[in-house]
Symmetry: C2
């Protein structure tokens, strides 16, 4: 217990700490956030598209009408009023009362990240197996690491998770996996969407194997053609736990998300959440409730979608214009991300310092795998940078890739 910065606690940490490591994405943010760098690395929605004067009025009314209450503790499960409104939101995606969704079964969380963390608390013992798409959401990998579980990736293609690969992964497990974690719509990091046909196949496989599905759906409403696919939860009321969030439809800085779970699971999630944070913020919950009930929020989601669609178009056109022919990428129908595959022999992680020197940032594909894969891939974000910056960023990136290709041609991979 000296006052030095050495680690005096080495022999006292919990076992789980040894498996926890800083994600490459977060380590990158400090450099990527410099103004001269075009960051295609982030995952931020563009909150400058929100009307601050309207939000100010909303907060003023909120504090005037319910200030003292909104500044207090609230029930661990979340405000009843908000849980009702959340059911209204889910109904727009097809998860309605007919599919068994009820405000009683909604647990409000500090973002969907907390929802996933709570599911880990409730379901995951050290050594357990979780199935997840390969690649998958980096924040999910952080949760599964902290839970000391093993992640088994299931391969995907342009139609999402491959059902045959799911069957194979299941056959290959030395114990029944606790659940399948999936982002079926406009996935992070690939932007890929699970096809309707495969949705039924995946549900069928999971039903046969008694495998619980955790469906994470942050991007579903950010559809560019207005044809958001029916969530898994809307197709199977019993076997799917659903994670939702207002981070992309309203604002990530509020940290309001939710879990829709069967009653027995819900009760345990509430206990776990009370132990973690006591209760979600009453103020930000009240803000979301007002936003949903008094503001033209569906129109605002359309504003976001249109904006991101323009930026996706710019990114895809830019990639087609300037990238070497060996390079491929996904064509997302919504969401925030494009997933690009580098020319053979190139390593996105090794190439990153050069990219930063050329003032462009991306996330190396390795961040999205638990098993060291992903060196040949990168994630590119198009929701936050302007069209001009996307244009510049893609060109800078092409320069970096061209140099790497020339190096490869000269010296080999």
């Amino acid at each position: 217990m000296s006052g030095t910065t050495l680690d005096d606690y080495t022999d006292r940490y919990a076992a789980r700490i040894h498996g926890m490591a800083q994600s490459e994405i977060r380590a990158l943010f400090a450099v990527a956030s410099r103004p001269e760098v075009v960051s295609l690395a982030g995952g931020n929605p563009d909150t400058s598209a929100l009307s601050m004067p309207d939000l100010s009025k909303m907060f003023t009314r909120l504090l005037h009408e319910q200030g003292p209450e909104a500044l207090l503790y609230c029930p661990g499960q979340g405000q009843p009023r908000l849980r009702e409104e959340i059911c209204g939101v889910m109904a727009l995606s097809g998860i309605d009362a007919d599919s068994g969704a009820s405000p009683d079964d909604v647990v409000v969380t500090a973002g969907a990240q907390q929802g996933l963390s709570l599911l880990a608390t409730v379901f995951l013992d050290p050594g357990d197996i979780v199935l997840a798409e390969g690649p998958t959401y980096v924040g999910a990998l952080g949760v599964f690491q902290a839970a000391q579980t093993r992640v088994k990736h299931v391969a995907m293609d342009d139609d999402g998770l491959i059902p045959e690969a799911l069957e194979e992964a299941l056959a290959d497990c030395d114990r029944p996996p606790k659940f399948l974690y999936t982002v079926p719509t406009y996935q992070n990091p690939t932007g890929v969407t699970l096809s309707d046909e495969r949705r039924e196949q995946v549900l069928d496989i999971c039903r046969r194997h008694g495998l619980l599905i955790v469906e994470d759906d942050p991007y579903g409403m950010l559809s560019f053609d207005g044809r958001q696919p029916l969530p898994l939860r809307a197709r199977d009321g019993g076997g799917v736990v659903y994670l939702g969030t207002f981070s992309k439809t309203f604002a990530a800085g509020l940290r309001v998300g939710w879990v829709l779970a069967p009653p027995a699971v819900r009760d345990k999630l509430v206990l776990a959440s009370e132990a973690q944070i006591l209760c979600p913020s009453a103020l930000t919950q009240a803000a979301v409730t007002r936003y949903l009930t008094t503001m033209p929020w569906r129109q605002q989601v359309k504003v976001f979608s249109t904006l991101y669609q323009e930026r996706r178009d710019e990114m895809l056109a830019g990639l087609a214009d300037v990238m070497p022919s060996e390079m491929t990428w996904t064509r997302p129908g919504g969401g925030l991300f494009v997933w690009a595959q580098l020319p053979p022999g190139l390593d996105s992680k090794a190439m990153l310092p050069q990219a930063l020197a050329e003032r462009v940032a991306y996330v190396p594909g390795t961040g999205f795998y638990a098993n060291g894969s992903g060196h040949g891939h990168m994630r590119l974000n198009f929701s936050f940078p302007s069209v001009e910056r996307i244009h510049a960023g893609v060109r800078r990136l092409a320069g970096v890739i061209d140099s790497a290709v020339r190096l490869r041609e000269t010296f080999g991979a």
Copy 2:
């Protein structure tokens, strides 16, 4: 995976779930919150003492000047600007740069509850031992339960934790405890404060045994005589992790608290927090920063303290007026709670339905122990109910206790 409400997942839950149970306090809130019931059971500060017009103006300026940023994700460790301000707040309690406090070592959390939960993630393996006052904060018991640890209570009296009892508890452990969790100032649930002399003794014992201290200090600034004791962290920079919160000095509904920890521990807390919630709310962090930098917040803390002191006086006077002579209670110098000991033979938990029938609520002492103790005690809150309601509540409670005493005299304990 049927659609019934039966628990289809029984064989899939994590082991930790079996030790987690709803706290008696939270189960009580539904009944206690009926308007006809005088609730002395809560733990809410009185947010109606805040000026809503002033807060509205603050939020309007916040959204105008930094809206888009305050609605985005932020660093997992919390906003740098807020971490600086937090150091300014701690310096008022004596935890300053001289005692090694730096913004770099502050982790902003979703309330101090999350801070404690993160410390459990970083330090506690199943089967580990944690020392804590008996009685202790119910939310801490929830964290330790979820971590599958054993809580060993250390006896306290009117001067707080008893150093000899701490020595005995340490001698009695079958493995070194991971830390001592303590609320040394205006403790929840007792309202008791660890004396200056004992602070040094406790620090000395912990130093000798290499025992880490987790100091939870939500109430220190709510001092009724202005003589807030020097925190343990200000006396020992190396051996104490400090938990702070704005829940009582500003508003619990924002869920903004912090941990001050040595660098090695801090890094692990940040990783654990990113896995739990990604980042704290940028909006509520910005609100707290503005509150601290543009509003007369120290004056507001004085308003809270004066209000609670009046209510404490009313409660103590009421108890002295109407309670049977066999009953005793603490005389808190600050904070939110009085801890009362019932006449011998009475059981606060068994008596609660009768109390609710008489329209008064309290928390039975059993909620604050991990070992089933506390039947002879109850926690009474004086921060939230008005003086009039405290007056009525104490009288109703006296009626219930008188009846129980008469029953005991007639039928035995």
